[in-house]
């Protein structure tokens, strides 16, 4: 991260970029404003991480299917997907046909599956495994912080909104920060000063934003700069939502609606670096097939539309989308046409140009741990890569150690 002096010394483009993540002293803010008008901000925009949490334990084996391994067909006696229906990626793995919308992303090199992601001594409790994914630690003490919350603490400067959770559910622990509370919103309507809908009130707000305050009260300074940032963010958002359709059609699903809002916010240069959404329902212990297919279809359709939208607004190269679940499911299906809690599974990445469609090795189905896949990549390696190399924050402090990064981009 740049400190303030470096940032003042950096060129105009950098100033513009950083201005998007927080209020600036007035002089710099004007410079940044000029830069924005000149259209410099987008090219210098900071990197963004979007997380989709598939809650309940997604069946990774039927998401990225190891069709090259006979054990798959032996153990998934009713749930196995015939090879000819799969969207094959290499001679071992293929996508569930419900993921067809994602094929274009694969073809464009904008999507990867990281295979065999997990951690030692797998925990098969939803809550405990999710807590591990959220905090990157086995829970100790009563005040765990989230891995992204801690990233927010490092990213945040005055008045910034580093992380945003879209959705009505309880805010995921992953976002719990020490200093900067992440925000959860159900709808973007909450990004607008409602009173400012009346001209008289709007004029008072603008007058106030332009008036300097006595600097002796640091709380007042903080409130003033945050109010300026909010006004700015809501104005940019209004401009975007009123702007012409970006020409990308999103499916009519809950997840697609949320991702579209995130795309709106990214287009509006909202000062947020981390976005978080969830899709629930993956705990498919019984009659998995139809439920899983429709969940995967919702996920794939939403992701495809989102990334296409980002490509259309030239932002895809600075937005990494990561989809994970708290665990995968057991190789052998159960007697109810479903699958039980498993261990290692796939994580999907999308957005920027990625080096390869498959990262790591598919776990060997002949070498299981209590019936479950063994991990080859520790999830904290993935986190370290995203923290250090993508968000530019120090992963060691967050993960409690150094984890060797993956080569992704």
């Amino acid at each position: 991260m740049l400190n303030r002096r470096q940032f003042v010394n950096a060129g105009l483009g950098t100033v513009a970029a950083i201005s998007l993540s927080g209020p600036l002293p007035n002089v710099l803010a004007r410079t940044a404003h000029t830069a924005r008008i000149a259209g410099l901000n987008r090219s210098a925009g900071e990197k963004i991480l979007v997380v989709i949490q598939l809650s309940g334990g997604n069946d990774g084996i039927n998401t990225l299917v190891p069709y090259g391994d006979d054990e798959y067909y032996k153990n998934r006696f009713t749930l196995a997907i015939p090879r000819e229906q799969l969207l094959t990626i290499d001679d071992h793995a293929g996508m569930n046909p419900a993921l067809r919308p994602m094929q274009t992303l694969l073809d464009d090199g904008r999507m990867s599956f990281v295979q065999g992601v997990g951690y030692p001594h797998p925990n098969r409790s939803h809550f405990e495994s999710m807590d591990l994914w959220h905090t990157a630690h086995r829970i100790a003490g009563t005040r765990p912080l989230g891995w992204l919350g801690q990233a927010s603490d490092q990213i945040a400067t005055d008045g910034v909104l580093p992380a945003l959770h879209l959705g009505g559910e309880v805010q995921p622990l992953a976002l719990r920060a020490d200093r900067v509370p992440a925000t959860s919103v159900v709808s973007l309507d909450s990004f607008r000063f409602r009173a400012a809908g009346k001209a008289a009130a709007r004029e008072v707000l603008e007058l106030s934003n332009g008036l300097s305050r006595p600097s002796a009260n640091s709380l007042l300074t903080h409130l003033q700069s945050t109010t300026q940032a909010s006004t700015d963010a809501s104005r940019r958002l209004a401009a975007v939502t009123q702007a012409a359709d970006r020409g990308v059609r999103y499916p009519e699903t809950g997840l697609a609606g949320k991702l579209r809002q995130i795309a709106d916010l990214i287009a509006a240069d909202l000062p947020a670096r981390i976005f978080y959404v969830t899709l629930d329902g993956f705990d498919t212990h019984a009659n998995q097939s139809s439920a899983h297919t429709s969940l995967l279809a919702e996920w794939a359709g939403a992701v495809q539309a989102f990334i296409s939208d980002l490509v259309a607004q030239s932002s895809a190269d600075r937005v990494m989308l990561m989809t994970f679940s708290e665990f995968g499911r057991r190789l052998k299906e159960n007697a109810s046409g479903g699958t039980d809690h498993g261990a290692a599974s796939v994580v999907q990445l999308a957005g920027p140009k990625l080096l390869q469609p498959l990262v790591g090795r598919y776990p060997d189905l002949n070498d299981l741990d209590q019936g479950d896949l063994k991990f080859g990549i520790d999830y904290r390696q993935l986190y370290a890569t995203l923290l250090d190399e993508w968000l530019g924050v120090d992963s060691e402090a967050i993960l409690g150690g150094r984890f060797s990064p993956l080569k992704l981009v």
Binding site: T142, R179, R213
Partner: protein, 451 residues
């Protein structure tokens, strides 16, 4: 470190303030009475502030802190029914209603302090009845001595669940409660060791819950010798609590937190100004009521440095509006909004409670807070009864002036005030609508969020 509190002398900072009779800075006037009411009692109506400022500062403080008990059997019954329904969110709404309507708001604001201090969340303690029980416990002890409060909290079933004490067995003592007792409740970091935690945890083994009540299970209690904080003996939990409360660091730690709550968000925890206050807290037998009285009677409390040196929490902001304008609101939706703004009572984010201060504020909450105020006044309908001077003849300039005096801790920049006065002169709307528009406008100003 330099701070704006440096000009104060520890010997006189907490001496009772002697206001001057002449107009000027050091005067017991409407602004001073409004300041006192905001800090101690979530704010008050125009008449109440007026009445306080016409009397003495001592009388005003006594009115707030010594007021008659506010026991409303209907309210208690309603809380019981809500708790029995198992929904802690309804309890939040009921508590907000109580804060807005009680005749003893100072007691509620102190109870809210202790709720944040001994933070316990219904997100983990899913039995709403236990949360209500804890809330009553906090209220009962809010203005009393510390040790009985901590002893009661240590046995409180909600706390036993929240900090996993009920899982604490002789063979595997759970350290959570012992840790937080020292780190967050009484001493602060640096005043104990990990070994103190391990030893002290054994004192609380066998502290269990049965039928929603505390129960001592002697079979699970570790009776062997423990060593902590310089003590050594076959102690039980009571002894551990007593040792912690009597530790030299305790008075100062608790005093520092109360000063941040009543005086200033950024009051330095290591300020030498805290020592005399901590000393008198100790001498009073750690009596919170006396400590609060000493704080809010003091020279420092009425100094210019103290005015506007707190950012209102979401609950404080909302309750202040309801009380000041004598207004009703749908407390269920209000509770929901407060949750979105970061402060849902009964659901503190962690055992650390709410960080407060600038942590309340970000680009989203700034908008959310203004929108909450806008919605409260817009939806208040006919319930608003502010009775400002000139209210009955819809004197709009008078309404703007009353709002400024009640809601702003110091004068707005001239241009801004001129604009607001200009709007008052031009407006043709009725008193209620004008007030709603004006307050919603004011809520977008940074000054509105200071107290």
């Amino acid at each position: 470190m330099n701070s704006r509190w440096d000009r104060f002398d520890p010997a006189t900072a907490w001496q009772p303030w002697q206001p001057q009779g002449n107009p000027g800075e050091n005067q017991w006037d409407f602004a001073a009475a409004a300041h006192l009411n905001r800090r101690v009692a979530f704010g008050a109506t125009w008449q109440q502030v007026q009445q306080d400022s016409a009397g003495t500062v001592t009388a005003a403080i006594a009115r707030m802190l010594d007021g008659a008990a506010d026991s409303d059997p209907d309210r208690e019954r309603m809380a019981d029914v809500l708790a029995a329904s198992g929904n802690a969110r309804s309890l939040s709404a009921a508590w907000i209603l109580r804060m807005a309507q009680t005749t003893r708001p100072a007691l509620e604001r102190a109870t809210l302090f202790w709720h944040g201090h001994f933070a316990t969340s219904a997100a983990k303690v899913t039995e709403a009845r236990l949360m209500l029980q804890q809330n009553r416990l906090l209220r009962e002890h809010a203005l009393g001595p510390l040790e009985p409060l901590v002893q009661a909290i240590a046995r409180d079933p909600a706390m036993l669940v929240y900090l996993d004490s009920r899982e604490s067995r002789r063979s595997s003592p759970n350290e959570n409660f012992a840790r937080e007792l020292m780190e967050l409740f009484c001493l602060g970091t640096g005043n104990y060791t990990e070994a103190d935690i391990r030893e002290m945890a054994r004192c609380f083994t066998g502290w269990e819950i049965r039928y929603s009540k505390f129960r001592f299970n002697s079979f699970q209690h570790d009776r062997s010798e423990k060593k902590f904080l310089g003590h050594q003996g076959t102690y039980g939990g009571d002894d551990a609590v007593r040792a912690v409360v009597q530790h030299p660091a305790c008075a100062r730690f608790v005093t520092g937190k109360l000063v941040r709550y009543y005086v200033a968000d950024d009051f330095p925890a290591d300020s030498p100004l805290l020592e005399p206050l901590a000393e008198s807290y100790r001498n009073s037998g750690y009596d919170a009521g006396q400590l609060i009285r000493e704080i809010v009677s003091s020279n420092l409390f009425f100094s210019p440095e103290c005015r506007g040196s707190r950012i209102s929490s979401p609950v404080e902001l909302a309750v202040r509006i309801l009380r000041t304008l004598r207004m009703e609101a749908n407390v269920q939706t209000l509770a929901e909004s407060l949750g979105e703004l970061g402060q849902l009572p009964y659901f503190p984010p962690s055992v650390k409670g709410w960080d407060g201060g600038t942590a309340w504020i970000n680009a989203q909450t700034m908008i959310g807070r203004a929108n909450l105020v806008e919605r409260l006044v817009r939806e208040s309908g006919d319930t608003m009864r502010p009775e400002f001077p000139g209210w009955s003849r819809s004197d709009r300039e008078q309404i703007t002036d009353s709002l400024c005096q009640l809601f702003f801790t110091s004068a707005l920049p001239d241009q801004l005030r001129d604009r607001l006065d200009g709007l008052a002169r031009q407006s043709g709307t009725g008193a209620r609508e004008f007030l709603a528009d004006t307050l919603a406008t004011m809520a977008m100003l940074p000054e509105f969020h200071l107290a």
